[in-house]
């Protein structure tokens, strides 16, 4: 009898909870449609260098005494860097500032039509060194620590390999592809038997952001539909909705790519896998990851559908450093750096690693 009453109560509670959620979904659903996307990237910063597609931010230090070495974060040219500064309490940059680091970030704007000729060499031999020079001027310290995310990691790795004598003292990578033979889907779409990259680049000049975004989304074909259903299911949950909207905004802010850069990615990295197999050259100098002998940290995501582990694991194996470490965390390509697991796991680990090396 008591068990039956308890069961009735449980059913009643569930129905009540579902009805309340349904009401909340409707109310908040209307708010969702009427309200603008949440503000992102609010941590105070100054733009200290700007040139075309390139922006260099200096975040205002939050401690009176900071670590000696400044940190320069290099974002992937396909995406905006505010993924690391989504909201107070959900910002890797804010976390690093509060932990006493001096943080600079390379962020990208959509390249203009006249920037279609920007290639990998412009990013590696011009943009990164120019930014490092500004960081050195601003911090009055010669050495820097680099942090590269995804393709920002590839650019950082190439730069560090070409400049083994400095000024980079440490380098941390987030989910950085080295062995491009494991990017199976993208390699198939750009199969050289069918894909005429020269014609595409010569015709378009700039690869539109829609092409880049669809390229990401197609790797999880159901993502958009299931994301919308989960959003509706969680519409009563303000935190979920806010987080969803921030990540959705970031995804929609995918950047177009300079045609020449895209051509080189396809030919040198996807087709020839030159970062892994050798043969990638800049100004006559071959990129050899064994030349990286500084401390290296590589943080990879267990469920990264864009950069599978097989593609990323070659980094630590190839660099010539004695002090090198790979950390695998639960999460996906984006949640690795900005999701709840990042806050609990990755950020403290990064702080621990950087703190020991940025003095």
């Amino acid at each position: 009898m008591a068990a039956a009453q308890a069961e009735d109560q449980t059913i009643a509670q569930r129905i009540q909870s579902e009805v309340e959620r349904a009401i909340q979904r409707n109310i908040k659903g209307l708010e969702y449609l009427a309200s603008p996307a949440p503000a992102v990237g609010l941590t105070p910063k100054d733009i200290i260098y700007r040139r075309g597609t390139l922006n260099l931010y200096h975040y205002r230090p939050m401690c009176d005494d900071v670590y000696r070495l400044p940190i320069l974060m290099v974002m992937a040219p396909t995406n905006k860097a505010y993924v690391f500064d989504l909201a107070p309490g959900q910002s890797l940059i804010e976390f690093l500032l509060r932990r006493g680091y001096d943080v600079f970030v390379i962020d990208w704007e959509a390249p203009h039509a006249e920037e279609k000729t920007l290639g990998l060499d412009d990013y590696v031999l011009d943009f990164i060194p120019s930014c490092i020079m500004r960081v050195q001027e601003c911090s009055q310290v010669d050495e820097v620590t680099l942090i590269g995310y995804c393709m920002g990691g590839v650019l950082s790795a190439i730069y560090a390999a070409l400049n083994p004598s400095g000024p980079v003292k440490n380098v941390a990578f987030f989910t950085t592809p080295i062995d491009w033979s494991h990017l199976k889907l993208v390699r198939n779409w750009t199969d050289r038997r069918y894909f005429d990259v020269d014609r595409l680049v010569d015709s378009l000049g700039i690869i539109p952001s829609d092409v880049v975004r669809v390229g990401f989304e197609m790797q999880r074909p159901t993502q958009r539909v299931t994301g919308a259903i989960r959003l509706w299911d969680n519409m009563w949950n303000d935190e979920y909705v806010k987080s969803y909207r921030m990540f959705e905004r970031w995804g929609n802010d995918t950047l177009p790519l300079a045609g020449e850069y895209f051509r080189q990615l396809v030919k040198d990295l996807l087709w020839e896998n030159r970062l892994m197999n050798g043969g990638l050259r800049f100004s006559g100098q071959e990129v050899d990851l064994r030349n990286i002998k500084i401390p290296v940290l590589h943080v990879v995501a267990e469920h990264d559908h864009l950069i599978p582990y097989d593609s990323a694991k070659a980094l630590v194996a190839k660099v010539g450093s004695d002090d090198k470490e790979e950390v695998m965390l639960k999460g996906g390509h984006v949640s690795l750096g900005a999701g709840p697991n990042a806050i609990k796991r990755m950020w403290p680990k990064l702080d621990q690693w950087l703190g020991a090396r940025c003095t």
Partner: protein, 132 residues
């Protein structure tokens, strides 16, 4: 009798959604790994590029006939404008630095750079334990 006897339809639907998502991604992924898919998608891209080139060429001819600037002319102008904008941005940044007193007096308050890692770790920054 307890909770197990009362199915939670919300969770059942969420499980179904998860299964459909996994199956859809796996199925879609396999289909997109085939040579046929690559051929089809690249044919579509080829048609799209051809159409774009044709429209661009025709539009360019019409604009030239009307003595109006073509896309290439506008791009060339944009390039010059961008160079000027870059110079203005540099000047503005230099002015901002001047106003903050960095360039001339060096009087801007900078943090000291003597920080050392502390042995104490607060709960939000506990050492990583390797368990994801």
């Amino acid at each position: 009798m307890g909770d197990n006897a009362v199915p939670d339809f919300g969770n059942l639907l969420r499980d179904l959604l998860r299964q459909w998502e996994d199956a859809g991604n796996a199925l879609g992924g396999e289909a997109m790994k085939t040579a046929e898919f690559s051929q089809a998608i690249n044919q579509a891209i080829g048609f799209s590029v051809s159409a774009k080139e044709f429209v661009s060429e025709m539009t360019g001819k019409h604009l030239a006939a009307l003595n109006l600037p073509t896309r290439a002319d506008v791009t060339a102008l944009a390039e010059k404008l961008q160079a000027i904008e870059n110079q203005i941005a540099e000047i503005k940044l230099a002015l901002a630095r001047d106003q903050r007193g960095e360039a001339t007096t060096g009087a801007v308050v900078r943090p000291t750079r003597n920080r050392q890692p502390t042995a104490r770790q607060d709960p939000s920054t506990r050492p990583f334990d390797g368990q994801a």
